[in-house]
Amino acid sequence: MSKILEVKNLTKEFDKFTAVKDVDFFVEEGGFFSILGPSGCGKTTLLRMISGFIEQTSGDILIKGQSMTGIPPENRPVNIVFQNLALFPMMNVYENVAFGLKRKKIEKNEIKESVLSMLSRVGLEGFEKKKVTELSGGQRQRVAIARSLVMKPSILLLDEPLGALDRQLREHMKIELKLLQKEIGTTFVYITHDQSEALVMSDKVAVMNKGRFEQIDTPQNLYKNPKTAFTASFVGESNRFDIKRDGNHIITSSGLSFIKDGLQNEVTQLFIRPEAFIIEPAQDDKDIQQMNIKVKTILFDGSNTKISALSEKNDEILISLPQNSKFDDIKEGDTIRVGITQDNLKCF
């Protein structure tokens, strides 16, 4: 696979602060690449530099090996799906999708053919004459994507396009977008603050914080092997402890103590996923470090049910309840024994 987009040491400084610091990555052709970060982390600035609306302070952007520095947005082989979609309200669906092709002075019949085939691809056959204001949220979404894809861009940039949809539709569009991308094969660069969107859809995810990339990895690796404290806390749920290390002992500020071998550096934070806890493990298993906890309350949420508990040192701990009915008899106020293996203790 060839690199379709290369971003090299990209930096953007505004008057008072640096929005993007020395970001360096590449995207493979046909990939679905997500940039995941909290609001204000610089991800929109990064996207606007790729699309050409902002000029970088230093560094370079290469698309298909060609530097994009100094090339205005209308001449870059990328198209963008805006956060608010930016459909043209005075035009109907057909005119919206045809807008870009008309600017290229393509023959009318050809435009018609491309627009109609693109509309059928996104499931909007027969909607040509509809006003965009008459469409539902999901349909407007698809018009915006069709309007960009009909231009046959090398890269499609998506700026949190699902943000404005309600939850159910968002879940549905996530799957639809992933399938559409697989079918069409266009490279997608997707920006979001929603970790679930990024994890579900992407081949690769970059976690961004304060203008820098913390980690670029597959969704699985990002979740299982976070490389920084920020990634561990931002991607997925975790129990977080402030810690001190003493040889292979790590001691939380409240006084809980765990054993973790192989630590070299100074560590200050410990993350444990709720599902990493084993409830009522075999008592004689030497690989599992065990402790007693007191159940405070049960947070029932279907397949995502958790126990909120207190440790012996009064730390709040979230523990996932497994999907079998084995532990249905756990009640508030019960004291139960939980265990954890060394590799599930993530220290930073």
């Binding site: 930016a86 005075m90 600017r103 960009s148």
Partner: protein, 285 residues
């Protein structure tokens, strides 16, 4: 309805009704009736269509009207040409901080009143006015050029008093134009010109239309600017009406001409709305 609410309702509605009935509806009915009357030899008022006939029979009347109409349309278009860049600048180019201050500056001539601003223009355009003196000073001309009491000075006056009524509605539509629409068009390969003609202008069409209606009506019904700034050749239809009422004391004919002005200009606005595919309800928003 609650009793207290009802009292409040009447307190609020009565002044509006009084205003409408006493100052607008009654005078119009009176004018309407008198436009269909002439005085016979005995001095009594009798029913007649002569007042309206006079308009079509006498060339000077309908030619004046056509002249007024042509100028009004022209001035409306000129006003649009001047107002649009200003509105665009104030809403999309200047930072919000300065925009409200600059808009306030635009409003100042409105506080002074039409008559005073027109005298101001006389000072600027007169034979010994600022422009002529300046041109003489830099040596471009020896003798002053006649700017005042010409069609040009009249157009300047009309444009100046009406431009704000074009700027404000256009500004209000442009304010709701999301910048991302412009970016999206640019992203799809549109040139600056294409963005302007395919996105910005169509988007602000409701504002342009309502501005045009207001300006057209203001200009075609204006009396002061044509009378003071206009030359002898630039006869405005309102001046005919003025003459009927105050020079020849033919109130019946004046009333008829007034109604003709009202009806014909309304019809023109209606036709223009139909032609441009705009709806009055949308324009009013």
């Amino acid at each position: 309805m609650h009793k207290g609410n009802r009292v409040t309702f009447y307190i609020l509605i009565v002044p509006v009704l009084l205003w409408l009935v006493l100052l607008i509806i009654l005078p119009h009915i009176d004018l309407f009736i008198s436009s269909f009357q002439v005085q016979n030899d005995a001095g009594d008022s009798v029913f007649s269509l002569d007042n309206y006939k006079a308009f079509f029979d006498d060339k000077i009347y309908w030619l004046t009207f056509l002249n007024t109409l042509a100028y009004a349309i022209g001035v409306t278009f000129l006003t649009f040409l001047v107002a649009f860049p200003v509105a665009f600048f104030l809403t999309k180019v200047v930072s919000r901080k300065y925009a409200s201050f600059l808009t306030l500056l635009l409003l100042i001539p409105l506080w002074v009143g039409e008559l005073v601003t027109i005298y101001g223009w006389m000072i600027i355009l007169g034979d010994h006015g600022i422009i002529n003196e300046f041109l003489k000073y830099i040596g471009v001309i020896d003798k002053p050029i006649h700017l005042l009491y010409t069609d040009l000075s009249m157009i300047i006056g009309l444009l100046y008093m009406s431009v704000l009524f074009m700027i404000v509605p256009i500004m209000s539509t442009l304010e709701s134009l999301d910048d991302s629409l412009i970016e999206a068009a640019s992203d799809l390969g549109a040139s600056k010109w294409a963005i302007f003609t395919k996105i910005v202008i169509p988007y602000s069409m409701p504002g342009i239309t309502s501005g045009s209606i207001i300006v057209f009506m203001l200009v075609i019904g204006d009396y002061v600017a044509p009378d003071i700034l206009g030359g002898k050749s630039s006869l405005w239809f309102t001046e005919q009406i003025y003459n009927d009422f105050l020079s020849t004391f033919n109130w019946n004919e004046g009333a008829a001409f007034g109604f003709l002005l009202l009806i014909i200009s309304s019809v023109i606005v209606w036709v223009a709305l139909k032609l441009s595919g705009q709806k009055l309800e949308r324009v009013g928003q």
